[in-house]
C-alpha cells in the first residue's frame, strides 16, 4: 500500500491522529543554563534590545524600533557570539533597573559589566575608554575625543567606532557631537540624543562628578 508522502490523507484514523490537540504549556526556559539572554525594553528614548551572557556581562543595548530590527540584531548576536539565545531571565533585571534609574535622572554611572564581543578591537578601544574620556553631563567633539584617546588623526575612525557602538546609552556615544556642537547622527535618532543630553545637563551641580564605570 502506498500513499502520498506529504498529506496525511482523509482516512478517519489518519485524520484523528493528525488532529491530536492536547492541552499544552509553553516550555519554561528560564532555568536553562548556558544561553545568552535578551529582553526588549521600552524606554523613554526608544525600544532597546538588552542582551547579556548567562553570567552577567552585557553584550547589547541596541536601538530596535521594530520587530525587524530585533530580528536583525539577534541574528547578529547569534552569528558573532552564540546562537544559544533565549528571551527573558533574571540576569538582565539589574541593568534594566539601572537603565530606568538613569533615564529618570537618578543615576549617573552604570555599574554593569560589559562585553564588547560585537565590536572590533579598535572599536573596543574607543568605546572602552569613552565613559572616562567624556563623563556624565559633558560633551566632546569627534576631534577632541580622538586627541583624548591619543589618536589625533583618527577622528573619522573614532566616529566610525561610535557608530558601531553595541552598547548605546550604557557606553555614552551620545555625548560625542560635531565640532560646532551640533548633534550629529545617532542610532536612536536625534530626538533620543537630545533627550539624553538634556537629561544629563539637568543637574549641573552634580554633572561630571562621577564617570560611569565600564569594566
Amino acid at each position: 500500500m502506498t500513499r502520498p508522502d506529504t498529506t496525511a490523507g482523509t482516512d478517519p484514523l489518519e485524520a484523528a491522529l493528525a488532529g491530536f490537540a492536547p492541552t499544552m504549556r509553553p516550555p519554561a526556559l528560564d532555568g536553562l543554563p548556558g544561553a545568552l539572554r535578551y529582553v526588549v525594553e521600552d524606554t523613554a528614548v526608544g525600544r532597546l534590545l538588552l542582551t547579556a551572557r548567562t553570567d552577567g556581562p552585557l553584550l547589547t543595548c541596541l536601538y530596535v524600533p521594530d520587530d525587524e530590527a530585533v530580528d536583525g540584531a539577534l541574528d547578529r548576536v547569534a552569528r558573532q557570539v552564540s546562537p544559544s539565545v533565549l528571551r527573558g531571565g533574571g540576569v538582565l533585571d539589574d541593568v534594566r533597573r539601572q537603565l530606568a534609574e538613569y533615564l529618570a535622572g537618578r543615576r549617573q554611572r552604570f555599574d554593569v559589566r560589559v562585553d564588547l564581543a560585537l565590536a572590533t578591537p579598535f572599536q573596543r578601544e574607543v568605546l572602552g575608554r569613552l565613559p572616562d574620556a567624556v563623563p556624565y553631563g559633558r560633551t566632546a567633539s569627534y576631534g577632541q575625543l580622538a586627541r583624548e584617546l591619543g589618536r589625533p588623526a583618527a577622528s573619522r575612525a573614532v566616529g566610525g567606532a561610535l557608530n558601531h557602538n553595541p552598547l548605546c546609552v550604557v557606553v555614552p556615544c551620545h555625548r560625542v557631537v560635531a565640532a560646532d556642537g551640533a548633534l550629529t547622527g545617532y542610532a536612536g535618532g536625534l530626538d533620543a540624543k537630545r533627550l539624553l543630553l538634556d537629561l544629563e545637563r539637568a543637574d549641573p551641580e552634580r554633572a561630571g562628578d562621577a564617570a560611569p564605570a565600564v569594566r
Binding site: 491522529l17 499544552m24 504549556r25 509553553p26 541574528d75 546562537p83 544559544s84
Partner: protein, 173 residues
C-alpha cells in the same frame, strides 16, 4: 552556515514539540518530556553542523526523550493503560460505523493505543502524522529506508484499526 537565535525555534515550534511529547509520553509526562527535549536541544545547539530542517531535528530529539521516558516507565512494575481497555471501550458500541467511532474517540484512548505499539511503529506514526514528516525524513530519523518506514506506518495503522478503529468481525459477532 549560521544558526538562527534559539528563541526563534522555540517560538516557531514549541507547539509541535509539545504535541509530539504529549502523544508519545501521555498527558502526565508530556510537559516533562517537552521540557527535557528543549534542554537537550539547547545544549546541543551550538555544535549543530547543519542548520537545515531544524524542526525535524527538534522533533527527533523530542521523540528520543519520549522513548527514554516511556522505557523508564514501562520498566516499573506499575501497569500502564493498556490496549485491552481501549478495545473494551470500542466494543461498547459495536454498531457504530468506524468513522463515527473514531470521531468520538477521546484523544487519550487513541494515543494510549499508539503508545502500546512497538517502539519504532509508535515513533513512525507520531512523526508521520503529528510532525508531518515525509517518508524520506522519517527514514533518515529512524535510520532506515522509506520503504521500511511505509511498512512501519502501514502496520501500525492496521494494528490501530484492528484495536480501536472498529470492532473486528470476531468481536462483533
Amino acid at each position: 552556515m549560521s544558526l538562527p537565535p534559539f528563541q526563534r525555534l522555540v517560538d516557531a515550534h514549541w507547539r509541535d514539540v509539545a504535541r509530539l511529547a504529549h502523544a508519545l509520553a501521555g498527558s502526565v509526562d508530556g510537559d516533562d518530556v517537552a521540557q527535557q527535549a528543549w534542554a537537550q536541544a539547547l545544549a546541543a545547539y551550538p555544535r549543530l553542523r547543519d542548520g537545515q530542517n531544524l524542526r525535524g531535528w527538534l522533533l527527533t530529539v523530542t521523540a528520543r526523550c519520549a522513548t527514554d521516558v516511556y522505557r523508564a516507565r514501562t520498566r516499573r512494575p506499575v501497569p500502564v493503560p493498556d490496549v485491552g481497555e481501549a478495545a473494551a471501550g470500542a466494543r461498547a458500541a459495536p454498531s457504530a460505523p468506524a468513522a463515527d467511532a473514531l470521531a468520538d474517540l477521546p484523544d487519550a484512548r487513541l494515543w494510549d493505543a499508539v503508545r502500546a505499539l512497538p517502539e519504532r511503529q509508535r515513533t513512525a506514526v507520531a512523526l508521520r502524522y503529528l510532525a508531518d514528516l515525509d517518508h524520506a525524513e522519517l527514514a533518515r530519523h529512524l535510520g532506515t529506508t522509506p520503504a521500511a518506514t511505509r511498512r512501519l506506518v502501514s502496520d501500525a495503522l492496521t494494528t490501530l484499526r484492528a484495536r480501536i478503529g472498529h470492532p473486528t468481525s470476531e468481536e462483533a459477532s
